[in-house]
Point group: C2
Chain length 353, copies 2
DNA sequence: TTTAGCACTCGGGGGGCGCGAGTGCTAAAA
DNA sequence: TTTTAGCACTCGCGCCCCCCGAGTGCTAAA
């Protein structure tokens, strides 16, 4: 973007002012904010040009100007200073994270809580199994002869699902079935195995039902992020923003956020530790047109990636948010990979797109 | 409550009117609603008596009256007609539930969703392990030699937690440890076993760490409802109510709801299929003073109880909510116990307190 | 005991008004 | 040519005021 230096400075000042005050910015305000004195008339000229270029908008004739989406985009791409967290902030963050994140599988919920708390925005936390979480092992755990827990063991996580069988299955039968399933799984011919079983076993038998379910669960585990792996926290903080004082708007957004599958689908982010920013319409989803979604990924292991992000008004303090998010992501990754960081970590605010 | 019949009718009409309109109710309004003609002056006399008795309040001199908490209490206890769901409604409910609730352990999340959808209120869903969920079996599943999933099998559910060990532990060692733990668990001397292990095993060894963690997890499983077993859905629906148009109030309540532990603590409900109603201050929690919490429990098994409920303004349509909630609870229990209902089920709206 | 009538109360909505922030334009200064 | 000062103009917002009307309590008659 080959915008003359002075226009850039003016635009930057306007965006930052608006971020802080949520009120349209006038020419005098900006004139006062410059080091070398410059008259408000000059600013006005520049501003009306910036408006023609599509960076500013007027809510009405005699109010100041408000940044457009294009302005925010330019701001985060080129104008924004990167914010560095003070030592104290970082310490508080680390302390809080250490105390909360003792177990690996509570990472998601707690990450969400921490992000929301430290950024003062509504947060989203997602587990993303890139290309599927290659199930390594399946364990059938008998609860009673009609009820089994299927434990799927993946790279460094496990999850279980409890199923009720249509017909009883003894523990020894289950053990046999379990071995067969794992053998099939290792050779990657699980669906074939289940199909084969269908011709042998009695229809409606517990073993057949269980085998089918396992195939389904494994497939599910390997495909998309699913709802149980999306978590939203701090929804109430949305309401603190002036733009969501209108209950209609807030309601729309909250409703959207409670559809976790959709929220999970928002994220297409493959490069870890790069902070992604989606401003307004860039999100696709109409209900997010006046919201921004800022998120970043962290590695949990080679197959699994966590994503944390915040949702707030387009007028959010991007540079603070970015700094905090990436600090949190680095910490998370460090904790997830057991302190002995296998992955090269970037400095906060290094890159974003 | 020995209130004369006419006063009861008037109070009932006022409460119902207010539930529908959210606006203070005047004497004429009520006079018109009666079958035998009765003058507004008479109503006014009655109303001012009801006010003295603490059932009505005046927002200001020249508005109508608004029911007090006591009035809602009396209303749900004695005045309210019980609402019966139409056949169509029940069918839709059952269809939706069948399609959503295939797996047992997704009950909580989906129950919440269904309740929110059918009652049009914010819903809460909790798993309550009355007196602890007696862990029947512990399974150690190796992910790699530094990482294990501990699967706790309870009456008819399972949950797992992934732990990273301080030192490696082979799969065969884990199997031995697993057997020992289960033996100890069966005889209810698990803590003693872990303590004994401490004197034999090397400090900092994987086995010791794991054993300690298992003890901790079992204890945790046996104690309180914990955060991962509380789920809130449809938070946005709060904002549809006139009383939460004020973002301040809405924010307070949403913040409260996002503290899941606290929400879990709200519920002290031991009798299943009885709809409990906590009106305003009855909830204890100050942030719920102008909200009502209506909930009911359903049996999952002898040890485990699910709780579903809704949170809304004190002016909520109690009788519809009660009918729907108890229909949902009965369905849930039926599904959870595999259609062959072991528990005697009540009719909807039968009892509540 | 009920009812009609009446004076009184106030909250809320609408209209009018003035303030002030902000703009665009023009003309002079740099 | 660019910057700046000056000025007329616009218009949203807050303020005040006032009136309307729903609703009340009281009193006196049925």
């Amino acid at each position: 973007m080959d915008l003359p230096e002075r226009k850039r400075q003016i635009l930057k000042a306007i965006v930052e002012n608006y971020i802080n005050t949520a009120e349209p910015v006038g020419s005098k305000m900006i004139a006062g904010a410059f080091s070398q004195p410059i008259s408000s008339a000059t600013i006005r000229n520049e501003m009306s040009e910036l408006e023609e270029m599509g960076f500013l908008e007027k809510p009405h004739v005699s109010a100041g100007r408000v940044p457009s989406y294009a302005a925010y985009r330019l701001y985060v791409d080129e104008l924004m200073d990167s914010y560095r967290m003070a030592a104290g902030e970082i310490e508080r963050l680390q302390a809080e994270m250490r105390s909360r994140l003792r177990e690996l599988d509570s990472i998601m919920i707690n990450a969400s809580r921490i992000v929301s708390h430290f950024t003062d925005h509504t947060s989203v936390s997602i587990i993303d199994r890139a290309g599927g979480s290659s199930v390594k092992k399946v364990q059938l755990v008998s609860i009673d002869d009609m009820t089994y827990a299927v434990v799927l063991v993946t790279e460094n996580n496990a999850r279980n699902k409890v199923l009720r069988l249509p017909a009883p299955l003894s523990e020894t039968e289950a053990a046999v079935l379990g071995r067969a399933i794992n053998a099939a799984l290792a050779e990657n011919r699980l669906p074939a195995f289940a199909a084969g079983l269908r011709s042998i076993a009695a229809p409606g038998s517990g073993a057949l039902f269980l085998a089918d379910k396992v195939v389904e669960l494994v497939r599910e585990a390997q495909s998309e992020t699913h709802a149980s792996e999306v978590y939203v926290d701090g929804a109430g903080r949305l309401l603190s923003n002036r733009e969501y004082q209108d209950p209609e708007k807030a309601r729309d957004l909250l409703d959207y956020l409670s559809d976790l599958r959709k929220v999970g689908g928002l994220v297409r982010c493959r490069t870890p530790y790069v902070v992604n920013i989606r401003i307004g319409p860039e999100n696709g989803e109409p209900r997010l047109w006046d919201a921004s979604f800022v998120f970043t990924a962290y590695d949990i292991d080679e197959q699994t990636r966590g994503i944390v992000g915040v949702i707030g008004p387009t007028r959010m303090d991007y540079s603070r948010t970015i700094a905090r998010l990436s600090a949190i992501a680095r910490q998370l990754s460090r904790l997830a990979s057991g302190e002995n960081a296998k992955y090269k970590l970037k400095e906060p605010g290094d890159r974003h797109e």
